[in-house]
């Protein structure tokens, strides 16, 4: 039987007094991959950020449930510990904090049984090899001086190590060349097998490599069309104008 991971009901969200999301409804079951596409400013990233609990976003109406539990009851770090993960569109730079230190601390915080040192190193090495990441990454400061592609790889590395039950991927494909995109897609497919996955993207090319079960088109803060993978192809082909009429 399908297990509901995320349920969003009539969600209205404002930022600094401006209403961005205007009644979003969405349910994601375990094992499902959903993709949201839309123009810049449609509210896609707002949706991901509000689910992860960013303090700048205010829910003015509606609810979000994670595995049946109202999300407002959970602080940001509790959401992460409960199995939620957001791959940020623009990950924060943390000068002075080495990637290795950060990853160990994060994994220790999120897992019920923290891995032992040797066990963690083995796991980390395997994940880094999978993403074709050099070990020198570990001694660099978190996202400090990273290229766009390096930042996205680090996000996916974290996802592989944290093994989330709900993965929110906010434009994880932007800034990646085709080889990097394949590597990142492999990582997403691995995690998606036993979790729920929401991919926010502008482009069809990631969806060629990570096959979504559902594709949603978002216009002006609401999901106006839902379909299968063919909808992504249609959006790529026709743009969003034809949906403006529907909206």
């Amino acid at each position: 039987m399908a297990e509901e991971i995320l349920r969003i009901e009539n969600l209205h969200v404002s930022v600094e007094g401006t209403l961005i999301l205007k009644g979003v409804n969405l349910t994601i079951q375990r094992g499902e991959i959903h993709a949201i596409m839309g123009r810049n400013g449609a509210g896609k990233s707002t949706l991901a950020n509000v689910v992860m609990g960013h303090p700048a976003y205010v829910i003015t109406e509606g609810s979000i449930f994670y595995k049946g539990q109202p999300l407002e009851e959970l602080a940001v770090f509790e959401r992460a510990r409960a199995g939620m993960f957001l791959s940020f569109q623009y990950p924060a730079v943390i000068p002075g904090v080495q990637v290795g230190t950060f990853l160990k601390k994060s994994v220790t915080s999120v897992r019920d049984v923290p891995p032992k040192g040797r066990e963690f190193r083995k796991e980390l090495t395997a994940a880094m090899e999978q993403l074709s990441m050099d070990k020198s990454f570990l001694s660099r400061y978190v996202n400090d001086g990273f290229s766009g592609g390096e930042k996205k790889r680090l996000e996916i590395l974290q996802m592989l190590l944290l093994k989330p039950q709900l993965a929110l991927l906010d434009e994880t494909d932007s800034g990646l060349d085709i080889d990097a995109l394949r590597i990142v897609a492999k990582g997403i497919n691995e995690v998606a097998v036993d979790s729920a996955c929401l991919i926010i993207t502008h482009y069809q090319r990631l969806l060629d490599l990570v096959k979504p079960h559902f594709v949603h088109a978002m216009i002006d803060g609401a999901i106006v069309q839902t379909g299968g993978p063919e909808l992504a192809l249609e959006l790529e082909d026709r743009g969003y104008e034809w949906l403006d009429v529907t909206a």
Binding site: V76, F77, A92, I94, G96, K105
Partner: protein
């Protein structure tokens, strides 16, 4: 000039604006206390060579005062030393004063760890880096949290020589440092970092002067402070490039992290450039912890307290990023990390 003949400097002087002389003097300003010795010893307990009090004359009040107060006088001459030299400076009694003269003729790494519980400690370090020599120097202030601390340093960096200078200040109640370096020959360079963790009601005033007297000289100063509680940090810099010191390259960056509403920080870099063809830059910023950094770390399962501690730790460690000597970087990082872990457990 001797101390008793000197006028008390007015607060209009850059150096004494935020921590006036009467606030750092051990008692009343016309008094010179009888000071106990600061004991300098090498790791393993061997004492440093003691020397007679030199007949120097200072026209700067803090240095003149430290000379008048006496205390211990020590010297260390280093020719070439592959292993780091650790010097423990132990202060005891009511008022303690120490003087240390370093002369470096080869390549060396020297650490000074100052500790103790007197009410007042004064320290004057002088150093000469001979031509083509290199010194990596780490100063770690771990004095008792009730101690007032006055520290003066004067470095002469000769032609083609290099000084890497790192300060980690986590001790003392009220601290005033006046660190001066002179690039006294073509090709001389200094990379300097100051890291201050101010908690409680701690007051720390760090003044750094770097003087480029010759062309093709380089300086790089990074000063990072994290201020919590009702602490107050002041970082002032004076960078001068003398007439004719062309092709000099100088940079000063001051960053303060404010961790509470009552914490205060001042960052005042100053430049005096008298040469035409130089590169000189300075910057200063004071801000609370970045909310996006906090959110990012919390979204990875760290509590708000753990997230802030990690950001502060990284911010302070980042002050050492302009250093290159691995012994120096490792020791300063380790000392800071241990200190912050102890802070977190309190």
């Amino acid at each position: 000039m001797i101390y008793q003949q000197m006028a008390i400097p007015p607060r209009s002087e850059h150096l004494w604006r935020y921590t006036p002389w009467p606030r750092i003097h051990p008692s009343v300003t016309d008094e010179v206390p009888i000071a106990d010795d600061v004991i300098f010893s090498l790791e393993g307990g061997e004492a440093l060579e003691k020397i007679q009090q030199p007949e120097d004359s200072f026209d700067e009040i803090a240095r003149a005062f430290l000379q008048a107060a006496g205390g211990s006088y020590n010297r260390l001459v280093i020719h070439e030393e592959p292993e780091p030299i650790h010097i423990n400076a132990r202060a005891s009694g009511h008022v303690a004063v120490g003087h240390l003269d370093l002369e470096v003729k080869g390549s060396a790494v020297v650490f000074i760890h100052i500790s103790g519980e007197p009410e007042w400690v004064g320290l004057h370090i002088t150093g000469k880096i001979h031509p083509n020599a290199q010194l990596s120097f780490g100063f770690i202030n771990e004095l008792d949290s009730n101690t007032k601390f006055l520290r003066c340093e004067d470095w002469m960096i000769e032609r083609d020589s290099e000084l890497e200078h790192a300060t980690l200040s986590v001790g003392g109640f009220r601290c005033k440092s006046d660190l001066r370096s002179t690039l006294n020959g073509t090709g001389a360079s200094i990379r300097q970092s100051v890291t201050v963790n101010a908690v409680g009601a701690r007051h720390e005033d760090e003044h750094v002067e770097i003087h480029h007297l010759h062309g093709h000289t380089n300086s790089d100063l990074v000063m990072n402070s994290a201020c919590a509680g009702s602490s107050h940090f002041i970082g002032t810099g004076l960078l001068t490039i003398a007439e004719g010191a062309n092709k000099s390259d100088a940079s000063q960056v001051f960053r303060n992290l404010l961790l509470s509403e009552k914490a205060r920080a001042e960052a005042i870099p100053e430049l005096e450039v008298h040469a035409d063809d130089v590169s000189a830059a300075h910057g200063a910023a004071s801000a609370p912890v970045d909310k996006e950094q906090m959110h990012y770390l919390m979204s990875r399962g760290l509590t708000p307290e753990e997230s802030q501690a990690m950001i502060v730790n990284g911010f302070l460690l980042n002050a050492f990023s302009n250093l290159t000597n691995k012994h120096l970087i490792e020791e300063m990082r380790t000392r800071l990390t241990v200190h912050l872990e102890c802070e977190l457990k309190r």
